[in-house]
């Protein structure tokens, strides 16, 4: 596993935890338990490649904490995967599940590989090999994987098939992110983006702002962003700028239209990586600006829905004074330095692990449906999702108001406290 020097997400995750542990005045035993994963698995996955040679890939699974229920988290296929990234992400999953109050713990897994350079058969070999190594340590009542970076529904089905073959029975609840009709849940595609906007809607209510009198700028044009734009538009909001990565130019651009972007129009000129065609966008009246321009637009709402570390201490001062809300669709888009600037500017931040928890919440719904082998209508999924997200938001904002905490700190306090309490109730600490 390759190491990265400058930014270590695990250090950041632990620093965040330590701060909250101080706020909660956690005892040393609980701190020690929660700042490190309960279990870590690292293993080799031998795969016979298409050229006949055997290659061994490195696989991982980290189960950070399962006091509140089976661990849950994605499996990433990435050439630069690191153990510390996986540990940090597993810990964040624990907090995310806890803040929306679903009965799951946090986990994360991965394989060091680049699917772009692998045939489908080779990818299938990795998926089945990953399961063979972990078949006894994962499962619907133990640890439930899901798609993540560069993994998709096909990978999940290969893994499910292997798991069921080993255990000799059908376990659709073992894994989530399955296609609809093969155990997947309706509403899963929309869940993260919609969940983001459910929390945004509540934040606007709290600030006394009508959604139809706001405009927004969004970073990213993938699944989360597109569905967030869709629902935000349905509530009456207007998105005036979208930024996305251009695969050919290996840089990002912002696409601006003061009268409001058209989601359908942009979708029609978007490649399979989520990149918008610059030329066609210009023809349709969009201004094409540098990638960072999305952040400095004169809007009421910013929605970073792409990558981590996008709003930093360096660029946060460029945020327009009109901005009232920053809703984090991506994981970790805002650095602690930037948080200080946002606090000083009185920008209402909806922290990532609350704002983008719609995805894991709907994964949990999928798991429940799969375990029952009974599938809900989309109305039911989205209705439950809305109520879950709204309840979670209200709990966090109420605590933030009552204890005069920054929203991110309030969310952490609720999440960590719930997990700590579960550990205590079980008699672990």
């Amino acid at each position: 596993m390759a190491g990265k020097s400058a930014f270590n997400p695990y250090d950041m995750a632990r620093a965040q935890f330590d701060k909250v542990a101080d706020l909660l005045d956690l005892d040393p035993g609980t701190r020690e338990l929660l700042r490190t994963p309960l279990r870590e698995y690292a293993f080799g996955i031998p795969v016979r490649m298409d050229d006949g040679k055997v290659k061994v890939f490195r696989g991982f699974r980290v189960q950070h904490n399962d006091a509140r229920g089976p661990t849950k988290g994605g499996i990433r296929f990435h050439p630069q995967e690191t153990a510390d990234t996986v540990r940090a992400l597993a810990m964040w999953m624990t907090w995310k599940c806890a803040v929306v109050d679903i009965p799951l713990g946090g986990g994360k897994g991965g394989v060091i590989c680049d699917p772009h350079n692998l045939s489908p058969r080779e990818q299938e070999g990795i998926c089945r090999g990953w399961i063979r190594q972990l078949a006894k340590d994962v499962g619907p009542l133990v640890d439930v994987p899901a798609p993540d970076v560069m993994t998709n529904a096909q990978h999940m089905l290969w893994m499910l098939d292997e798991f069921e073959a080993i255990h000799g029975a059908k376990y659709p609840g073992f894994i989530t992110g399955k296609p609809v009709g093969m155990g997947g849940s309706l509403g899963r595609t929309e869940a993260t983006g919609y969940g983001l906007v459910f929390t945004l809607r509540e934040a606007l209510k709290e600030l006394g702002i009508r959604p139809d009198q706001t405009c927004a700028s969004v970073q990213g044009f993938g699944n989360v962003s597109q569905y967030a734009i869709e629902l935000y538009g349905q509530l009456g909001g207007k998105v005036v700028c979208v930024a996305c990565w251009d695969q050919a130019d290996q840089t990002s651009y912002s696409f601006r239209k003061a009268s409001g972007i058209s989601l359908e129009e942009l979708r029609s000129i978007t490649d399979r990586f989520g990149g918008i065609d610059k030329g066609k966008a210009r023809e349709r009246g969009y201004e094409v600006l540098p990638g960072e321009a999305w952040l400095t637009q004169e809007v009421d709402i910013l929605m970073p829905c792409a990558l981590e570390n996008q709003v930093t201490g360096d660029n946060a001062s460029g945020i327009h004074k009109r901005v009232r809300v920053l809703a984090e669709g991506a994981n970790g888009p805002t650095t602690p330095d930037a948080d200080q600037v946002l606090k000083a500017r009185n920008v209402f931040v909806i922290p990532d692990f609350l704002a983008n928890a719609g995805g894991v919440t709907c994964s949990y719904f999928e798991q429940v449906q799969s375990n029952m082998n009974y599938f809900w209508e989309k109305d039911e999924v989205l209705g439950k999702l809305d109520v879950k997200m709204t309840s979670a938001f209200l709990a966090v904002s109420e605590l933030a108001r009552r204890k005069k905490l920054f929203m991110r700190d309030a969310a952490y306090v609720i999440a960590v406290n719930r997990v700590a309490q579960a550990c205590k109730d079980r008699g672990w600490v």
Partner: protein, 597 residues
Amino acid sequence: MEHEAPRTSPGGPSWVTPFDRRFLAGAEPFTRIGDGAIGGKAQGLALIRERILSGLPPGTFDGVEVVVPTLAVIATDRFDAFLDRNDLRGPALSDEPDDRKAHAFQRADLPAELAGDLRALALQLRSPLAVRSSSLLEDALEHPFAGVYATKMIPNNQHDADTRFRRLTEAVKFVWASTFFREALAYCRSVGVDPGREKMAVILQEIVGRRRGERFHPDIAGVARSYNYYPTGHAKPEHGVVNLAYGLGKTIVDGGTAWTYSPAFPKAPPPYNSLRDLLRQTQTAFWTVHMGRPPAWDPTRETEYMRRLSVAEAEDDDALRFLVSTYDAGADRLVPGTGVEGPRLLDFARILKFDEVPLNALLRRLLQLAEQAVGAAVELEFAATLDPREALPARLGLLQVRPMAVSEETVEVSETDLERPEAVVAASFVLGNGARDDLADVVYLKPGRFSADATPAIAAELEPLNRALLEAGRPYLLIGFGRWGSSEPWLGVPVNWSQISGARAIVEATLPQMSPDLSQGSHFFHNLIGGRVLYLCVPHEGSGSGRIDWDWLDGLPAVAETDHVRHVRTPVPLRLRVDGRGGRGMVLRDERPAADR
């Protein structure tokens, strides 16, 4: 025809508080979900709150609490979103049968921005809900769409929230679908409204009532009108009229038997020849929300969770003794209450005759306030519960207010006019007021072929004739036997409004074996009045004055003919005169020579 959204401000009903996901526990009992219009019925309820109840300070009527039951309105923007995102506009306006449309709506997804609100409501509420239509055009003064759209009552008492949520969403989708049911589309077309422009808000409202075992219903449901088209005895039209029934108001709006009285003379019984006659016409069945074992699942049926029961099944209800009198056969008199054995008469005696609850005085005051607020004659729908254990304090929920169309046109038809030889129809009992000279088409039931057991078949035969005449843009005169629109086939032809919606004048001829009272409370009749359809009642020979010239009609060549129905066309349009004040009407053929016309 251009229609304005009734009393809706252009920017949406911002004056109605947004739904905060706390229904009964919220500070505001009248909220909205969404930013579109809230529809005519909800506007009416808002009017009641703001302009009518404000004129009725608490305690004005001792022991009676008057409220608009708690409600949340799903505004029309959610309806638009539902149609557009599920591509339902095409199927909705198609000729598909109602059940197919209802099914397509059930399969479609709720707008994401609505699902959470409904889920939150289902999570917290475990008592029955009325899911009611409130369309833009509904209750507009010109065309009251009363009863055209669906209302669904749901028990909402299932143990788990998932089931409550599903039943609630099914009911909302059903009401949305009813915007495009055959009857609704026909109504729109008959009054010149483009059905594609109609929008439907949906009211989710607490049902006024009490639970008794597997039943949930009010003790009294009623419709009060400030203008009476059928005054009897000393009553005058402007005294108004009230219909009361036991159970849900569906009994009245469907045209079932109810107790009818004049608010000016609450103690006067309806005009029957004898007590025995009165007993034969009393309410014997009532509607209730079924709270027991779930019925067969059928989200596309309006009465899925409703039951029609015999009043005898409510014999042990503590409130019933305040609502009925018992016939003492030995003395041939009525005894208030249920203290003695005998046939029961639902005459609300202890309330109307003995004033144990000041219901009549309250209704008179409400009608007065409502007329002032609306600026026209009005109709009020209400439901009330009594609490016999607490010296009868009542809770009265106002469910709807709508303006009545009262024609001011002066038409005079004298007794001698009825004797004119050119009168094809002469009637001494009419509904509505006005004149028309444009009816050349007559659809009538063949007297020689008519029988009570054929009435369902007749309804089916009328539908294609009506459709053809509607499509040809030809208004027509309809002549038949018994009560039109009766829910009971042995009392008349059980048509729904869409099956005869092109008729601009209707004649109801009674037969010796089929002589029911006209049903004033029904939506069917309200639509006739609202649609300015003129109505003439011709009693059978020997029972009153009036006649129909069947020979002349039979002498006209048939344009179309079925087993029981004949469609003829007169060479010159007929002249129709209905004198609402005098209570007489006639249809005249033109016997002048062609040169004089």
